[in-house]
């Protein structure tokens, strides 16, 4: 009895096994040689318009010249003048019906003067499976793990598996429903066989994968393949990979599915599903069964029969007290999540091999590839942008820009719109700043409040000589700029999450560009919110923009002031009082906070107390800066230079340095 080789043995054999060429007309010799060992050869045949695995006597029983056309819910065979023997993909019947029969007697019982139970002793006849594809080899390996890899084993399966001689066939064509490349199971056969064939124009390149396979090959009228024949064998299989197209993004699918147990698509696909069970019956790895008793009328003798079952069956999960999966959506979800997710937890691999049978044989054209893409799409990688190199970085060198317009925001804060700026400034990112200077005035750091197509905005509060001089400039005036400098808001880290912006007073200035970016890409976030507090209504910045954001649907805006007169009908109170409005799961919040440091500290405390993770909170720090490039030493904060390691910091990076006195 030839046993199927263990994968490691086969891999070694594959690596060192010679290849041979078997002429097309000599394929029958292979069948005869195997039958001569006493094995029944089971291979592809045609029955009722489909390729099904059944006993064959000679090579003439094989479906020569036939090919299949498979799409979701459709299967047709077509005959052409091609002499190919294996020019089709897989049919409806998986090999599991021979290793794991649909109907099996697992016990016999008698009830006479006493009772007794006799389990059958497995004694399967030796068989050979001719035409096993790569995905089917993978399916057999999966079933090995299911039935033989745990504490409890199926000895009938073990016996049948051991009794099977595997003649694999490399795929040289594929159906539109095949997706083995997505599951990593094909199209090439890698081990798990006794003999492997690759069909080329004039015959087959043949290779042994076990001592038993080598013994069979040695009896065949083979010769060494020519270089061209060996190359054609490789090319024919590689062409299938190309034909199958881009693999599905299956990385992480197990975890992605676990996160989508409440996705509305489950109900939608269940509405289409007729729960016929075709998918589970044709699937080469599904293994659910049920047990029935059959007895004579007198009850003296009975047998216990194991039958294939399906988790789609309406009573599959029923117990005496009820049904754990009463709804079709529950059953569909069970099948798909088991196949692609929890199978990993149970058996260390996916339960799917990408053979596509469940797609072809679904009468309502459900395509699991589409369902997986809809329910658990891949999470886009976070692409971290690289900061553009600053212009005129060295102190004393400046890039000249022109003042296009001046807009007062409050009685002491003004927005300067600059144009004719170096393109590097336009490539800056929200959160960055510039060093801006006028002759005879020291340069000061100012956050870029807005990025425009042809310039940048700087919002400046007049608190010193330079800032006062700047806000008193007129359009047309020239200023010197260095930058863009510093770190920027990591917007990408908020993708798929609730993006919350908390701004206090002029702190809205370094956040304005961020809010623009969040609003422009709002569909990439679970939600976008702005909580803004200012001293009085008259001290609010960007009132037109606040009104526009409030009127739009892309962002929720909540505003409060510290104090107001009777004409103010809005909220009065510090910005942390707005956190009462938060109703989401705060573990899914990414927050961006700027304001006076004490206000930031109160805000951070409020956010953390609501459950926002510290590594999902970013703040922008302010320190005395004179060079903007970490060389003057002024802006040091516990070993960091705020000008170049900041000003934007992740809160957990700052640790307890944040808001610590004297730092």
């Amino acid at each position: 009895m030839i046993t199927s080789p263990a994968p490691s043995q086969t891999a070694t054999a594959t690596a060192t096994a010679r290849q041979w060429f078997l002429a097309r007309e000599d394929l029958g010799a292979l069948v005869e040689a195997i039958r001569a060992t006493g094995r029944t050869v089971i291979g592809p045949t045609i029955r009722e318009g489909a390729i099904v695995y059944d006993e064959i006597q000679t090579a003439a029983d094989l479906p020569t010249g036939w090919r299949d056309v498979q799409t979701a819910g459709r299967y047709r065979l077509e005959h052409d003048n091609d002499s190919r023997v294996f020019g089709y993909a897989v049919g409806p019947t998986p090999w599991k019906r021979f290793t794991f029969p649909p109907n099996l007697t697992i016990a016999a019982a008698h009830h006479t003067s006493t009772i007794g139970f006799e389990p059958p002793v497995p004694d399967p006849p030796p068989v050979a499976f001719l035409g096993v594809r790569a995905c089917e080899i993978a399916a057999l390996a999966i079933q090995d793990r299911v039935f033989l890899g745990g504490q409890f084993t199926d000895e009938d399966f073990r016996a049948r598996r051991s009794a099977a001689f595997i003649v694999a066939v490399q795929c040289t064509s594929c159906a539109s429903t095949c997706f083995c490349t997505s599951m990593g199971t094909g199209p090439e056969v890698h081990g798990g066989y006794d003999i492997v064939l690759t069909e080329i124009d004039d015959g087959f390149v043949i290779q042994a994968g076990s001592p038993g396979g080598a013994a069979i090959v040695a009896k065949l009228p083979t010769r060494q393949p020519s270089h061209a024949e060996a190359g054609a064998a490789v090319d024919n299989v590689e062409a299938v990979r190309t034909q199958m197209g881009q693999p599905l993004p299956m990385a992480g699918i197990a975890e992605r599915l676990k996160l989508q147990l409440d996705h509305p698509r489950w109900a939608q696909v269940a509405d289409r599903c007729v729960e016929c069970g075709n998918c589970t019956m044709s699937c080469p790895t599904c293994f659910c069964t049920s047990v029935v008793e059959k007895s004579g009328m007198d009850g003296r003798a009975s047998t216990t029969e194991r039958l294939w079952d399906s988790c789609f069956d309406v009573s599959f999960a029923k117990v005496a007290g009820g049904d754990f999966r009463a709804r079709p959506r529950d059953r569909y979800r069970q099948w798909l999540t088991h196949k692609f997710s929890t199978w990993w937890d149970q058996f260390g691999s996916s339960g799917c091999v990408g053979c596509g049978r469940c797609i072809t044989w679904c009468p309502v054209h459900i395509d699991v590839r589409e369902e997986l893409s809809a329910i658990a799409p891949p999470i886009p990688p976070v692409v971290r942008p690289v900061a553009v190199a600053p212009v005129a970085a060295s102190p004393g060198t400046y890039s000249i820009a022109r003042l296009a317009s001046v807009r007062p925001e409050t009685d002491d804060t003004t927005t300067l719109s600059l144009t004719d700026v170096d393109p590097a400034f336009l490539s800056g990112r929200p959160g960055q700043f510039v060093m801006i200077a006028l002759p005879a005035f020291p340069a000061v750091p100012i956050s870029i409040s807005r990025f425009r197509a042809n310039g940048i905005d700087l919002t400046i509060r007049a608190v010193g000589a330079t800032s006062t001089a700047l806000v008193n400039l007129h359009p047309g005036a020239k200023v010197g700029l260095r930058g863009p400098l510093g770190t920027f808001w990591p917007v990408e880290e908020a993708y798929g999450r609730h993006a919350v912006v908390v701004a206090g007073g002029v702190g809205l200035s370094p956040l304005h560009g961020l809010v623009d970016a969040l609003v422009a890409n709002h569909d990439r976030f679970e939600s976008v919110s702005l909580f803004y507090g200012s001293r009085t209504p008259e001290d609010m910045l960007f009132r037109d923009d606040l009104a526009a954001w409030s009127a739009g649907k892309s962002i929720d805006v909540a505003i409060t002031v510290d104090r107001a007169g009777p004409e103010w009908k809005g909220r009065v109170g510090v910005v942390t009082t707005l956190f009462d409005m938060i109703s989401w799961d705060c573990s899914k919040v990414t927050a961006f906070v700027v304001g006076p440091e004490r206000m930031m500290q109160a805000s951070v405390q409020g956010l953390i107390s609501k459950g926002v993770p510290a590594d999902k909170i970013c703040v922008s720090m302010e320190r005395h800066m004179e060079c903007g490039i970490g060389l003057c030493g002024h802006c040091q904060m516990a070993g960091r230079f705020v000008c170049k390691d900041g000003p934007v910091f992740r809160l957990d990076d700052l640790g307890d340095m944040f808001n610590r006195e004297g730092i």
Binding site: R461, K569, T576
Partner: protein, 159 residues
């Protein structure tokens, strides 16, 4: 101000459950408060309470917005805090012989569960379970307000 019939305590309890103040009270306390109080509607600009008046009523705002104002000579009325749905006003009524700390004005059409101070204090005195449930909640509301007030006091946005 319009008081409605209190024949549907379940709907009042449901309203309380949507407020910050009421949501975490025990069901027994929620029902007790529903029975003690009245649902009252206020029109925009309606003065609910004047600064310095006896603190006769405590309210839990269900809908709308109230402004707490104080009068500053030469500046006129200054809004020092707004009360949003879920928060309380007139908490001084929990204590006897106190005066309202500020004038309470509805800045928009509003609705609140209003409880007479006399009834509330009598209930707290007689029902220890109610007291054990309600006092910490009132204390927390006052602490939140104190924390926020301190931040306002710092005048962090001042030049």
């Amino acid at each position: 101000m319009h008081a409605r019939a209190m024949d549907d305590y379940a709907s009042v309890i449901a309203m309380l459950n949507h407020t910050w103040f009421g949501a975490e009270l025990s069901p027994e306390t929620q029902e007790r408060l529903a029975r003690l109080g009245d649902i009252q509607d206020f029109e925009a600009d309606e003065v609910i309470l004047h600064e310095g008046d006896d603190a006769k009523e405590m309210g839990i705002l269900i809908r709308g917005r109230l402004a707490l104002r104080t009068f500053v000579p030469e500046r006129g009325p200054v809004t020092i805090l707004s009360v949003e749905p879920g928060d309380i006003f007139g908490w001084s009524a929990v204590l006897a012989d106190t005066q309202a700390q500020s004038t309470v004005v509805a800045t928009e059409s509003s609705q609140a569960l209003v409880i007479e101070g006399v009834k509330l204090r009598a209930a707290l005195k007689e029902d220890h379970a109610l007291a054990a449930s309600l006092y910490p909640r009132v204390l927390k509301a006052v602490a939140r307000r104190l924390r926020a007030t301190r931040l306002q006091l710092l005048d962090l946005f001042a030049r």
